[in-house]
Symmetry: C2
Subunit: 203 residues, 2 copies
DNA sequence: ATTGAACAGTTGACAGTGTCTACGTATTCG
DNA sequence: CGAATACGTAGACACTGTCAACTGTTCAAT
């Protein structure tokens, strides 16, 4: 937000920009330093290791994911839990589709240092957002007998699998030219018979 | 299967053994060569690149995945498509849980050279196995209006997401001590109201 | 005002990587 | 029998993450 960001923040932004432009493949400490106009050892003055730098990027990714889901839900009736759950699904996969680099990074425990507290906190917050939605849905009769976190885990898995396989390219060739939104609609119809009013293009 | 395997096969086996023992993290050309008792350049006589070697390992992984699903299905009534679909789900996630290294590798396009024909063929075969199951299910009234490959893609995504997030460790802390089978049961109940006779430990 | 410690950045080294090339050997085939 | 081809080795190259030493700057305390 602010203009004269610290070097630390600029490193995170640079890494994120790299992910958006080039994908996750060639990312590295020296490459980030190069793009930030610093010497190859400079990042280590702000992060003890590459893994921690990437964990910071991933944590920011979780915040953006949270925001993407929130934005998607703001388009539907806030008093309708099922509509919100449906909208949240689109927010999730759209974040993944729009930011494949960071999304891919967020679940790469070999790259991110998952011991980073910020990483754990932001990841937990994103999941917490979903659990709240699930609790609201259960309150109006959606599988009220299930453990909320377990039900949330299953719904999360579906969207996560859809996003992951789509980015992997596994879905496109096998299911033809099917776009991701269609698959999300099908998934939600299976899970809770959603009619999916969402089909236009926010966030 | 045969005893005096070729060096090429031994390299694949060595790589696979490494994945099973050490996970995906430290794998590399030189490490594989070391474990196989060869010089660091030897693998390149059989594979043009590390990516191709790993693609061969992944292709074998797809064959094993196929077999795991087949084995799981052999325990239920072969004339009941929904029971077979239910069983197939367990075969999928159990393969992932039992072989986290290869499973992780199979969907890492930055490591596997996805241009390898064998990789594409075996991956396609595994998906084809699922599509057949879906077609059978649709024939007895399970969402017969949907495109088979799309429905299959969604069902696949759910199990893939479950397996991926479980291996990532994202499911364990958030959903407490819930084991993977429980989540699969919940997922299948959402998708097709399965009663899941499967709960014991095959494959 | 001066000292001294903390900070931030550079630079060079180290061990490790994937890949390439040149070299040797051995087997096989014309 | 000679030659070609396959296989394995060894060295080099460019690259990586990380560490240690060095330089300059800032800033608080004496």
């Amino acid at each position: 937000m602010s203009v004269p960001v610290s070097t630390r923040d600029r490193l995170v932004d640079t890494a994120r920009a790299y992910l958006d432009e080039e994908g996750i493949d060639g990312i590295g400490l020296r490459e980030i330093a190069r793009r930030a106009g610093l010497s190859h050892g400079a990042p280590l003055r702000h992060f003890p290791t590459l893994g921690r730098l990437l964990a910071a990027v991933a944590a920011e990714g979780f915040r953006d994911l949270y925001a993407s889901v929130e934005a998607s839900m703001s388009a539907v009736d806030s008093a309708d839990p099922m509509a919100r759950l449906d909208a949240a699904s689109f927010g999730y996969v759209r974040f993944a589709a729009n930011s494949p680099g960071v999304f891919g990074l967020m679940f790469r425990s070999d790259l991110c240092d998952t011991g980073d507290p910020e990483y754990a906190i932001e990841g937990g917050a994103a999941f917490g957002q979903l659990v709240e939605l699930v609790v609201d849905a259960q309150a109006i009769g959606f599988h009220p007998d299930l453990v909320p976190t377990e039900l949330a885990g299953v719904l999360w898995s579906t969207m996560h699998g859809l996003a992951s396989l789509h980015l992997h390219g596994a879905l496109a060739p096998t299911t033809g030219q099917t776009d991701l939104d269609t698959l999300v609609r099908i998934a939600n119809r299976l899970a809770f018979g959603a009619s999916s009013t969402i089909s236009k293009e926010p966030t």
